[in-house]
């Protein structure tokens, strides 16, 4: 009888593979699940802060999404960016399609795919990505890995092929408060730090999921401190 390969081995494989990889800054670690009839409004913020006087960069993302079926979820985002001392500018729009591949708990780990397309406004820069999402539940711990293959093309950018990895370990302490750790590894970002999340139930189908965290650099290219705060309103 063959011994099933452990999810931790997969995460190690993903982490090591990301060492040769490309660009994704701190954002969010996706789970592979989709619920039918799901609709949500999402508001994500990331602040890259340099305490030694460098430029702070604030990225904000506003999205609307809804499930198309029991296994497919479509979301549309408008992305804005603001540098220190400047007004916020509409930066790009993005479309995501999440595909839940396996039923939660059916196998030893759960899997999904995420397809993304991004168009930068005012520039001839396009980006497409496919992300393999893996999740392993171990007692009260949840381990999630996102491995992305990304291509960028257009008249204002050198065509590129990159990969990136984002991983999260989370402890299911209570529904309203779950501590965790996140790791981001790409060509421009190598960061690690604590994150906290929770759910506030608002009655019926309505709920607010919040997530915040601070990521610290693992190399000289990443911002000294990266703060993230995300809100996800389901209705």
């Amino acid at each position: 009888m063959s011994q099933p390969i452990k999810f931790s081995s997969l995460l190690l494989l993903l982490s090591s593979s990301a060492a040769f990889a490309g660009t994704t800054s701190v954002d969010r670690v996706y789970d592979p699940y989709v619920q039918p009839l799901e609709r949500e409004i999402e508001f994500r913020n990331v602040l890259e802060h340099d305490p030694f006087g460098g430029n702070d960069v604030w990225k904000t993302r506003f999205g609307y999404g809804q499930s198309l079926s029991e296994r497919l979820f479509l979301e549309f985002y408008v992305v804005g960016e603001k540098e220190q001392g400047e007004a916020i500018e509409e930066d790009s729009y993005e479309i995501e399609l999440k595909w839940q591949l396996t039923e939660q708990g059916e196998y030893s780990s759960d899997w999904g795919l995420l397809f993304e397309f991004e168009d930068e406004l005012g520039q001839d820069v396009l980006e497409a990505a496919v992300t393999l999402i893996g999740l392993k539940e171990y007692n009260r711990f949840i381990f999630t890995g996102n491995l992305s293959a990304i291509i960028e093309w257009g008249g204002d950018i050198n065509d590129e092929f990159e990969t990136a990895f984002a991983g999260q370990s989370r402890y299911r302490l209570s529904q309203s408060f779950e501590p965790g750790l996140e790791l981001y590894q790409s060509e421009t970002t190598s960061a690690f730090g604590p994150v906290f999340s929770g759910v506030v139930k608002l009655g019926g189908r309505k709920r607010l999921t919040w997530e915040t965290g601070i990521l610290f650099p693992l190399d000289d290219e990443t911002a000294n401190q990266t703060y993230k705060i995300n809100f996800d309103f389901e209705f």
Partner: protein
């Protein structure tokens, strides 16, 4: 330009190998052993049975039949499961392996009436 393409091709080859490895790992991690099956019905915004006894330390397959015309969400933080079951339809939820104990669940859309427990023993 040729060197860029060569570089991209090498990356693509590496990534392809990685994905193939992942698929193999995924396949290897799939266990197809038969799981004990249990049935849970939703009718008039109530769960039947409201107390379900299941074996501890094994994965179980829960078939949830929603006989109401409106959707319901099976939810349990203790079981780490959330699943919307559309009206007049059925859905499968895989649970466990559970340590012996009592695990409450409820219907998110009718929380005052749709409540139950799974007892793993």
């Amino acid at each position: 330009m040729h060197s860029v393409r060569k570089f991209c091709n090498q990356r693509f080859l590496g990534l392809t190998k990685l994905f193939v490895t992942l698929i193999v790992c995924m396949s290897a991690s799939f266990t197809f052993a038969a799981k004990p099956e249990f049935e849970l019905r939703i009718k008039d915004h109530l769960f039947y049975p409201s107390e379900l006894h299941v074996p501890a330390n094994v994965k179980i397959k829960l078939l949830v039949l929603n006989e109401d015309s409106t959707p319901e969400e099976f939810e349990s933080y203790e079981l780490n499961r959330e699943k919307v079951i559309l009206g007049n339809s059925k859905s499968v939820i895989f649970i466990g392996p559970l340590a012996p104990g009592i695990y409450p669940f409820f219907g998110e859309f009718n929380i005052t009436t749709a409540q139950g427990v799974i007892i793993a023993e």
